[in-house]
Symmetry: C2
Subunit: 350 residues, 2 copies
DNA sequence: CTGAAAGCGCTAACAG
DNA sequence: CTGTTAGCGCTTTCAG
């Protein structure tokens, strides 16, 4: 017993298919008499429209896809929330996928037979895609990219100024009087563009303050995860002359570092100040709370959706735009200290 | 200049549409001569298949939808990751949406014209849906529900045993010798089924241990967020006789409570032990780390996808199944204490 | 191995 | 206000 079609309903109600369609979609006015008959038939047959057929006819699905490396990285989860909201404001339904940071899966998205070709447009936060990959893509959906990876100007892009964000984070530490400032999260290879920009910002800040760059204080990490931040912080503290501040390339690294420091009895921020980037909510509730530079996720999402919708609806020339979103320094306890307690930091007490 | 269709390619290559389709899909063998011609035309016209048309013909999209209340609640983000992986193993692409815990949006999902009707099946984690809503739903996609909300046996369901999970968490606190055990997260109204089951488990544990139930120690919260957990913990500590342990209905509440306790100079776990439910990664990195009861998210995702796929592919009778997933107690520092330091807890040190 | 053609279910232009 | 009908672009049966 297959699903009822419009035709089945029309037959049963003794009207034309057109009338049924009108009733279902509330289009043209339908006389009450017919409407009643149709409604009855609709109910009896338990009619549900075939959305795929409708989409085919209309040439659109009303769906936007957001693809991020990892959904359980809070930054991406928070960004997803903002993007879904922005999509709704434009009449689109945003659905989210993740690639597990797997290069092959990133590439799959763009292939001819990707299921995401069914979406009207895609917002991608790529890790390993090359411009080449984007160029030969086999699906037709317009694309907007997130982040500064891939920078050749042939695709629309939304990102914060990563150099400035990193510089401001580092300058905040310098303003606190710190001089041995470590950095966790460098990725000096192919796909580490964002990390490299943050390294550049870090070094700019040091330079401007006349602080010598010490490569031993810069720890690379393959990914931006808590565990790696914790490990790197431990290593740093084992140095002959350990840092008095740590700039982490994202909040997750910073949160990991925070725990390993406090756990080891290091007082934060008295002994070591810590700052991250991302502005995730988790950082408001760590102990101590985490200072951070927060990209305006709301704005990133809005700009990305607007660019994409313009591309889809042809209201913008497909000339790719490089859009810059705002970021804000949010100093909290991990650099300012725990106020209102008359104490100098958090540590282990017996 | 519209997108090239199969027909365009066929015309250009001087072959039939059928042959082009075969080449594109690698179906029936095609002679090398024709294949070459087709490939050329494909390239010249930059052909990309219309996935919607294909789906219409095939009657499926290969897409599964996962809908959760809030993606930036780590439990759901982690569950999403597991579900996406499980979907892939079954040949489906899972895409994720969120409702912002908005009743109206939950209901929208089920309407006749919901865009999610385009998905082959839906996994929903509902908050406010009623069985009635589910019954009159206008879209055709099979549904599997997550969580214990809605319990009338007419829809497939995957959930942990919430009563047992809560009981075990509470028993863990009791085993530590705690007797004034508070609870944060009750929701004594319509849509708070899960919370109510956890309250039941909490009370069972108290009863079995012969500890009197004290309603002042039970704090309701509208949502399961960090901020509310922090506020509730602060209130509890202001009681004439404050608790010596707190069972939070999820990890986010617990993490909020943790911060407010430590921030106030309360030693955790010496003065107050804390435990949550969810087993989110964040709890491994808080200071102190968070004891928790972890639902097996991998298993939940796998079971949900399996049930759904069986429904879609008709390999299972549509007889709804109530599936129970496993959970595990993970004791960590917030109840066991910080080992290896010879100290008794974390606090503020001057 | 390849071509012709039916038709998936729906929308909307065209007629009346 | 309502009926008829031509496709949307693709897959696939049926012939050849």
């Amino acid at each position: 017993m297959r699903e009822a079609t419009l035709k089945d309903v029309a037959t049963r109600a003794g009207v034309s298919i057109r009338t049924v369609s009108n009733v279902v979609n509330g289009y043209a006015p339908v006389s009450d008499a017919l409407r009643a008959k149709v409604e009855t038939a609709l109910g009896e047959l338990d009619y549900r429209p075939n959305v795929i057929a409708r989409n085919l006819k209309q040439g659109r699905s009303g769906l936007l896809g957001l693809v991020v490396p990892e959904l359980d990285v809070p930054y991406f989860a928070e960004l997803a929330r903002a993007t879904i909201a922005a999509g709704r404001r434009h009449g689109y339904t945003v659905m989210v996928d993740q690639t597990d940071a797997d290069p092959e899966r990133e590439r799959e998205l763009l292939t001819r037979n990707s299921r995401l070709a069914l979406f009207d447009g895609l917002i991608l936060s790529p890790l390993t895609l090359t411009v080449q990959d984007l160029r030969v893509r086999g699906n037709r959906a317009p694309i907007v990219l997130l982040g500064e990876h891939l920078f050749d100007g042939s695709f629309s892009h939304v990102a914060i100024d990563n150099v400035a964000a990193a510089r401001e984070a580092t300058e905040h530490l310098i303003a606190l009087g710190r001089t041995r400032i470590a950095a966790i999260g460098d990725q000096p290879y192919q796909t580490g563009e964002t990390a490299q920009l943050r390294t550049a910002g870090y070094r700019q800040a040091l330079e401007r303050a006349g602080i010598a760059y010490d490569p031993r204080l810069v720890r690379p990490t393959e990914r931006f995860h808590r565990r790696l931040g914790a490990a790197a912080a431990t290593e740093l503290m084992a140095l002959p002359s350990p840092p008095d501040a740590i700039f982490c390339y994202n909040d997750l690294l910073a949160l990991g570092a925070l725990r390993s420091l406090v756990r080891a009895g290091v007082r934060v921020p008295d002994d070591v100040a810590v700052i991250g980037i991302d502005g995730i909510e988790e950082g408001e509730f760590s102990m101590p709370s985490l200072s951070t530079v927060a990209p305006d996720k709301q704005q990133i999402a809005t700009l990305a959706v607007e660019s994409l919708v313009a591309l889809i609806e042809g209201t913008a020339a497909p000339a790719p735009a490089e859009v810059r979103a705002a970021h804000t320094l949010l100093p909290r306890e991990s650099t300012l200290g725990i106020s209102g307690l008359g104490v100098s930091g958090l540590g282990i007490s017996g």
